[in-house]
Amino acid sequence: MNAACRGAAAALAIVGAVASSGALAQTEIHWWHAMAGALGDRVGDLAKRFNASQKEYKVVPVFKGSYDETLAAGIAAFRAKSPPHILQVYEVGTATMMAAKGAIRPVHEVMAGAGKGWNPAEYVPAVASYYTDHHGKMLSLPFNSSTPVFFYNKDVFKKAGIEAPPKTWRDVQEAAQKAKAAGAACGFTTGWQSWVMLENMSAWHNQEFATRSNGFEGFDAKLAFNTLMLVRHISLLSSWAKGELFTYGGRRNEPEAKFFNGECAMLTSSSAAYANIKKNAKFEFGVAKLPYYEEETGAPYNTIIGGASLWVMAGKKPAEYKGVARFFEFLSSPVVAAEWHQETGYLPITNAAYLATQKSGFYDKHPGTDISVQQMNSKKPTKFSKGVRLGNFVQIRGIIDEELEAVWAGKKAPKDALDEAVKRGNEQLRRFEQANKSAK
């Protein structure tokens, strides 16, 4: 090698060193998510800010469609041996992910591997417990969690002479009657009926939803939600459906439109519906805690979450896992987590984010936005109120939807519908148990 050649090589090395501090040597972290519209923009902002904050890693967010499409895409990519680093999975997919031991890398391992002091106790327990295994190890990172709350139309309430938002379900009945009498087309409706009326009502009253601590202790859980309390609750709603106090508006969040277009005076749905309602409602609305039954001892307890968490997929390089850990630290940092909570209406994922939001006066400026947090933290979660974790939950929710629809249409008695839902749901649980035998 002659001198000129050596000189050129040295020059190249310098250029290379300069470039490597730029884009060239960056480790890419692929993040597949299901956040559409304004939420998708927020996700893009998060990645951009993280990328600007350091030079080693570059997070690339990719929108993969709805929650079920994103999960299906992640599974297909794993089977094709090219999964993303981070996959956003909705709460009903949690058991599927937990069972997939060889396909995922638990978050506590990823964080420990990055060698930084990471303290899982910083996370809001009611949220984190959902994604924690029975040894207390965090498996996925809480990201966008919500809980159902009660929305009411203040204008209609004023017109109907209703003083305070209803506390109990009997108050709701009275309010619905008054609202109808004052000319409202519909008294009450609900989004996500299985999640709100069965899963959350069970937790809110400390009733068993499924055996084995609602499925947290193993895949051999059996459904148990055909309790006296829920049969009574569904019967009450069914009588409202007959008396046109309750209008069924669909399985997902479609009923929110019935509330913000002024048709229904009251709504129970995800706390994350706040932004959408605020944008669309041409009236004053209020947020209150979910109604309960005062005769149930100790009620209300706490509500449980929905939404999604971030899973880390297996089979990546150590450097890439370091990047994932850095990004997760960024997401969990008080400022970022507090902003995410305030901008989206999702629950704060860390205690620090909640305190920061409180201190900033956000809750005073936007009354009702802290209802969800209060509900989650109102009592220490019991084994019936810390969440529901079931295999084949997508199918089970589908079954519950079908059975409830038969009740609202007046074709089936509430008890028969719940019994049938338990029976059919259990068949799904056994199938899941069989399919995941090795993963216990």
Binding site: L71, T96, Y248, E402, Q434
Partner: protein, 293 residues
């Protein structure tokens, strides 16, 4: 006897059909074989654990009374879609065939919906007929119809049949129009001279001559209704209310794609495949006899 036919080379005919056979193998036979294999296993979502269960997946399905009901629902749905889409397409084709001016414009407009994706068609119809925001739902309520497909199974079925059929009308229209234009004018004129009115000309000359086209379209439409409609149903009703619009292919899609129960979904698609093979054979054996070529 000329065994070589028109080809001098022994390999040329195989080479010519080769690409078609390759496509069939890769995109039809291979997946079908995979479905057959998968239907005998139960596996977790990520495919990390597989267990051979023999015919258990099939046994579980056949023991489920709700699955049996899905057959009846599918029969109603497929019958409805085929009748509505063939009927509407035939009427439109006959009308378009008589138009003297602007025929191309009409034809293009009728063909348009075929380009709409199934899920979009579902959403479109859902918006028209949604009980809270739908414009047509509003009109129906004005007319005194208690329109609520969210709880009324019959109305939900009507909605998905219309949405699924609407998409297929364009396809059928093109074939019917071509069929109509292939009917010799001389025949119709001769019949007219013999004193046959428009209706009896249509019934005795046009319809029989169109019957090969209609038969072909009936087969295609039934297959479409069986396999290609889960997008419309997912967007419009998700199989509800209370399973009223849960057809077999939607259940395959729901259990497999959304629920990640691949064993059961594979068993369901094997059953579906058997039904469609049987239906197609039956159509060719029994209905084709009545077709005039």
């Amino acid at each position: 006897m000329n065994r070589g036919g028109a080809f001098r080379s022994r390999w040329l005919p195989y080479a010519l059909v080769g690409p078609q056979i390759a496509v069939t193998l890769v995109f039809f036979l291979w997946p079908a074989a995979q479905a057959l294999v998968q239907s005998l296993f139960v596996e977790d979502a990520f495919g990390t654990a597989m267990q051979f269960v023999g015919l258990d997946n099939f046994a579980a399905l056949l023991a489920d009374p709700h699955y049996a009901r899905a057959f009846a629902t599918t029969a109603v749905f497929a019958g409805g879609v085929t009748t509505v889409s063939l009927g509407a397409a035939l009427i439109l084709a006959v009308l378009a065939n008589r138009v003297a001016r602007g025929a191309t414009l009409y034809r293009s407009l009728v063909i348009w919906p075929y380009a709409v994706a199934p899920a979009l068609a579902g959403v479109l119809w859902l918006f028209l007929f949604d009980p809270s925001v739908g414009t047509l739902a509003f009109a129906l309520k004005r007319l005194g119809v208690d329109w609520n497909p969210l709880l009324d199974g019959g109305q939900a079925m009507t909605l998905v049949i219309l949405a699924a059929a609407w998409k297929q009308v364009s396809y059928n229209f093109v074939f019917f129009l071509a069929g109509l234009q292939a009917i010799p004018r001389a025949l119709l004129e001769a019949a007219a001279i013999d004193g046959a009115g428009p209706w009896s000309r249509f019934r005795r000359i046009v319809l029989p001559l169109l019957s090969p086209t209609a038969f072909f379209l009936a087969v295609v439409n039934v297959i479409y209704a069986f396999f290609d409609t889960f997008g419309v149903i997912d967007a419009a009703t998700s199989g509800g209310p209370a399973k009223a619009t849960e057809v077999l292919v939607y259940k395959v899609f729901h259990d497999g794609f959304k629920g990640q129960d691949f064993g059961s979904a594979a068993a369901q698609s094997v059953i579906l495949m058997a039904i469609v093979i049987a239906l197609t054979v039956a159509q060719f054996r029994f209905i084709e006899r009545k077709v005039v070529y």
